[in-house]
Symmetry: C2
């Protein structure tokens, strides 16, 4: 047991390695599956090439960004004692691993799609196995790389700054180790932002463009091989829903662990791990979650055509969550000491805990983790309710489609706004509850508990776009009804999992941001974030506005790119004779290029807003105003994220409901009816909402928090400078207005 | 001068009285104008009857509410020493005067409309004079009643609690006087909420219903006498845009004065007014603003048909603002003492000002007032930019109409979100600047400065719907082109003033809420609102969500009511033969009844949310969490208000642009083209945005702040109770989890 205690820190990256090994095995299995006929392979090749073309273009831009940001970080690391230029190294590693995880996911997704189509020729069970294994490869890759990266870097920095110098585990040296480690999270989250925003713009520009001309004007079905934008549309599913979502969750996963570790440092713990059990705990939980995700994933299978795919996924998901929760209980009991915890800052000069301080126990920590699991589950359930077919919200939109386009839109917007109520109440109760059990550390560890089974969540999420692509290839290759039926079955389940996955992603982003927010306050060395102060309140207002302008930029980027796509598709139909008769091949690559260029160009402005705003506000107005800004961004971002994602999801399923026919006031309406046309308008409006701006909110709030955390030591040590500036201001204002200015402003 | 010093307090209601006398003279002049032929009179009669029917129905419901709320207030007034049951009396007076001001405005508007139509037979100048005089009556009535009410009640309570008992002017007795006075503001704001929400639902249910069947299905023009919903539509202009806007600004006007007075009490001032100059100042400024509004209004005139109506309005508006600003400068110099101010709480036991406290001078106070004027002006200019024809935002929506309904909607939503950026920056700078000049008192007096010329603002606002109605009567009575041309000219200007008026209203509501927020903190006896505390942060999240659910309820209420209206209009066209041939009169009263019933029924749920939430949160979680809630509501409410109002305004003018033809990619499109149809969809979606949910945000944030201010003394004195509860919680949690809970949670 002693041996285990001593080597636990090394076990963490080993758990990540186990994930990667299992991933490699599963990846080899997928690759060994049949790929079908030449036409299928050709189409799959186009999709894979398009996806790689996007990644290459994205990486090119991002490499400039990473180099510039790395140099700035290295320089800034030299300016304060609690940081180091080495932060640039962990930043680069974080950025590289995030990009690499996206690459792995995309490569396996573009292999799994055609193999799923081929498998669907045999049976639904086989098709599910191929597509879900593809998803599992993505999930294990993301989680495995994250744990290996964060775990190894922690070992390096912990040894370098703390143990090799015999420093205290909750002193300045450890703070420095964790600050340098925060660079890893910053790198991961920066890449995630561009992947999410760029991917989101890509996928929706292609989708909206393909639909508006193909479906509406030319009257050809979705995924028809004659539509020049159809390959771009399928590429989009990969770059947006696979690589974008993967990078998003990679970022959340790393950031929650990091925030918990930063808060864990401030906790005085008399444990058998040299006092760093609260720091190690989030990584151990993540490792356990990864192992049990492998177990859960192995349980996802069906045997008959009539078996429920959703049920199979649910069994696997629940198994991994329950097993992780049980294992976490024992790990908490084993790792954490029996006596109570308190924060270092709550000790007086003699090392005694000040009266009235918050103290908590290991049972409290486990309580917080359970709160996190409950919050994640409830968020998924609520999201599903608001976006599922046959439930009140979607039915109300269907009903309002009968009076036209406008009432359909009004209905969807109202549903989206309404859908913020329950998630916010759950989140508020979660904040309250996890704080109740274990203070701010509790808020962070709740997020870590929720994120533990990220590998499984991501496997389920990535399965959706793979099935979607498989269906696309089946349609484009004009395979028999039966095959398309099986892929449609998988795709329908994929739509539900996409909705619940979004609920999970936003909940995780919200809790992650709160954890980072709490960590920021500690590192920045401030006592309060008092919105009663005019400047902090002004920061709160400006912060609240940022998700609005960020959404506006994303939405209008999709609008512009989609219009360029519409014009290109119209041009090809006009100028290339024989497309409609299957005699000429459309110039798919032109459409791919439009989406690629537009998404790369348009992702820059929103990305810079997220990166630069906290830096400007922090240095110009100090850490407390920055705290107000972060609170504003988080509250408004979570609201806008839920509003837009759910409105989009509900519009989508309202439209899909017409495929099987819907009853409005006693009459049955099908596709091509007037109400259906109105529902298509809603779906098109909802596309950028649910796949571009909505999910980007997650990364916006996380990235702004992590940037703040990284600059926090500078703001802290800049105290003297800012006090000097305040003095000058005081003198100046006395001269001009005979006013003394309180140091609070 | 001494005499003036002693009697200034009595001069305040006298200034209000002057406003009312001028109003009566102008009202008599309007009434004495010609009313036109029998058909016009009949139609105007329908409109006036419909408007009164709505008011009666509304008053019936509100009288129950007012009685119940009054009894609760009276009872609660007995429970703490710093309040009194008399608060119920000032609540009733506030509610009555708000309702009465709405009644006055509506009565004169329903008289002015037909007289404007008749005057338009003669000349544009005459038509402007009649319609603008009608608006002026409304503006003077609202401002006059507010000043008389607040000023007289202040004299009564000041005498009763302070001077007659020889109490200190900044002690508990004065706090009690102002708390009782806050009931007046609560009464006004409560009525305003229901008037704004109910009126907003009424007007848009009628408008959307009339358009969807009349314009789209039956193909008859707007305001056609054959449309059964057309009278309801015209009634809606009065109940929504006149009575709703009037009640809204009446509430803001009173609330800003009150908040400044509450903060003024806490200021130590060595002046010639017994130390209450900071308390009197906002009322004196409001009185001056009223007088100079009369002067400005008299300057609004044109002589030739080709003169610019907009220019005439601008001259009057600017004259009143500049004159008020200049007069305010002298009043500030005269009333406020030469030495500096500080807050009472910043004094130590010996009466000396503690080091580092905020002190400011009378020049600082004037600086804050200027900041308020600048903020109000900038907000109006920005709003106009985002909603005006021919500017980039509206042009971008026009362009996106060419690719269909969906891209038009996406374009409008993106513009609405983008339009939050500049107003928020202006507002944040305004908060920062006014605080810099004169602390929290500065924030409040900035709002008061901005609201000073409310009478003029409201005159301009109310002129719009009067002109709109006049055009409606001209169309329904099938008067010559020339007449309709003149009313259209006025109506077009009215659309612009409606947009800028909304910018002004939201800016005033935001500053009012901040002033109330600051006053709340003082009265509740808390030191900070620290969002670093988990429970305050949870409050911030819940607060941020409330504008979303409030908007959802308003929007879906309009959707439901409009669908009922659509069915009724379809029924009448089907079942009443001869309507289309002008042979049978449609049953206008049925449509009026639908709008009335729906609006009364649907206004209850959002109204109760606004009233009850702060009470629940305040008593269950204490004043600091309530402070977090208020901050969340204010930030999110201001953002949602700007987003929705501007998106709606931009969609509206994008649609209107098609009337004169617009160029998209080299082609000219007119009404009935496909892009125009798409723009109609946007306009219909925008209707509830800009006239129901958007403007309701103003009252939502104000009302929740004023409710909090009224309950603040109870939360303050409830301190002991809540500490007891915390102790119990502590004991309980120690038993169950061995956790000590910090008193902060």
């Amino acid at each position: 047991m002693d041996l285990l205690n001593n080597y636990l820190i090394y076990l963490i990256p080993v758990m990540g390695l186990i994930g990667i090994i299992v991933m490699a095995i599963k990846s080899a299995w997928v690759t060994s599956q049949e790929t079908g006929d030449a036409s299928m392979n050709q189409l799959a090749g186009y999709i894979a090439d398009g996806a790689m073309a996007f990644l290459r273009a994205e990486w090119k831009i991002l490499s400039y960004f990473v180099v510039v940001a790395g140099i700035l970080l290295a320089w800034s690391g030299t300016t304060v004692a609690t940081s180091s230029p080495i932060i640039a190294v962990s930043f680069l590693i974080g950025a590289f691993l995030s990009a690499f995880a996206g690459y792995l996911g995309m490569r396996i997704a573009t292999k799994s799609n055609v193999r799923t189509t081929q498998a669907a020729k045999t049976s639904l069970a086989k098709a599910l196995k191929v597509s879900f294994t593809g998803g599992t490869v993505m999930g294990l890759g993301v989680a495995g790389l994250a744990i290996i990266g964060l775990g190894s870097l922690f070992i390096v920095f912990y040894t370098m700054y703390v143990t090799s110098k015999g420093e205290a585990v909750n002193g300045e040296a450890m703070a420095k180790a964790l600050d340098v480690l925060a660079g890893f999270s910053l790198g991961a989250e920066s890449i995630a932002l561009f992947a999410r925003v760029g991917g989101g713009i890509y996928t929706k520009a292609a989708d909206v463009g393909a639909d508006l001309v193909g479906k509406v004007e030319a009257g050809i079905p979705e995924d028809d091989v004659r539509n020049p934008a159809t390959i771009a549309d399928n590429v989009g599913d990969n770059v947006g829903d696979v690589a974008g979502m993967g990078a998003d969750l990679f970022g959340s996963y790393v950031a929650t662990m990091l925030a918990t570790m930063v808060l864990g440092r401030e906790i005085v713990s008399h444990d058998s791990f040299g006092g760093i059990a609260p720091v190690l705990l989030p990584m151990v939980i993540a490792g356990l979650g990864l192992i049990f995700s492998i177990v859960g994933a192995s349980m996802v299978k069906i045997s008959k055509e009539t078996d429920s795919v959703q049920k199979a996924l649910n069994i696997g998901n629940w198994a991994s969550i329950v097993l992780t929760a049980v294992a976490t209980y024992f790990v908490v009991q084993w790792m954490l000491p029996a006596d109570s915890f308190h924060m270092l800052r709550d000790e007086d000069a003699n090392g005694a805990v000040k009266a009235g301080s918050l103290v908590f126990t290991k049972n409290g920590v486990f309580g917080s983790i359970l709160v996190g699991l409950v919050v994640g589950t409830l968020m998924s359930i609520i999201t599903e309710y608001y976006t599922a077919m046959g439930k009140r919200p979607v039915l109300s939109i269907i009903k309002q489609s009968s009076t036209g386009h406008a009432t359909n839109i009004i209905g969807g917007l109202a549903i989206g706004m309404e859908s913020t109520v329950l998630p916010i109440l759950v989140l508020a109760a979660g904040i309250y509850g996890s704080y109740f059990f274990a203070g701010l550390y509790g808020v962070a560890i709740a997020a870590a508990g929720m994120m533990a089974t990220t590998a499984m969540q991501l496997a389920i999420d990535a399965f959706g776009p793979i099935a979607d692509n498989a269906g696309g290839i089946a349609e484009m290759s004009r395979l028999p009804e039966e095959v398309r039926g099986r892929t449609d079955n998988l795709d329908a389940v994929g739509n539900t999992t996409a909705a619940t996955g979004k609920g999970f992603a936003i909940a995780s982003a919200a809790l992650t941001s709160l954890a980072l927010f709490a960590a920021f306050v500690g590192v920045a060395g401030i006592e309060h974030i008092d919105i009663y102060k005019a400047n902090v309140l002004a920061g709160l207002f400006v912060g609240g506005m940022i998700p609005f302008i960020f959404s506006a930029l994303c939405i209008s980027a999709v609008g512009r790119a989609a219009m360029a796509m519409v014009e290109e598709v119209r041009r090809q139909f006009r100028e290339i004779p024989g497309i409609m008769e299957y005699k000429a091949r459309p110039e798919y690559e032109k459409c791919v290029e439009i989406s690629t260029k537009a998404s790369i160009r348009e992702m820059v402005a929103p990305g810079l807003i997220a990166l630069i705003t906290p830096i400007i506000i922090g240095f110009a107005f100090g850490p407390e105003v920055l705290g107000g800004l972060l609170a504003g961004v988080t509250v408004s971002g979570v609201l806008m994220g839920i509003f837009q994602s759910n409105a989009g999801g509900a519009w989508d399923n309202a439209k899909k409901s017409f495929e099987k026919g819907v009853e409005i006031n006693g009459e049955i309406y099908y596709k091509k009816s007037e109400p259906h046309k109105a529902s298509v308008t809603g779906d098109t409006v909802g596309d950028p909402f649910k796949d571009t701006s909505g999910p980007s909110m997650n990364i916006l709030i996380k990235l702004m928090s992590i940037v703040s955390l990284v600059i926090a030591p500078h703001l802290n040590s800049a105290d003297n400078t800012s006090k000097m500036m305040q003095k000058q201001e005081k003198v100046q204002s006395m001269n001009v207005h005979q006013i003394h200015v309180d140091k609070k402003i």
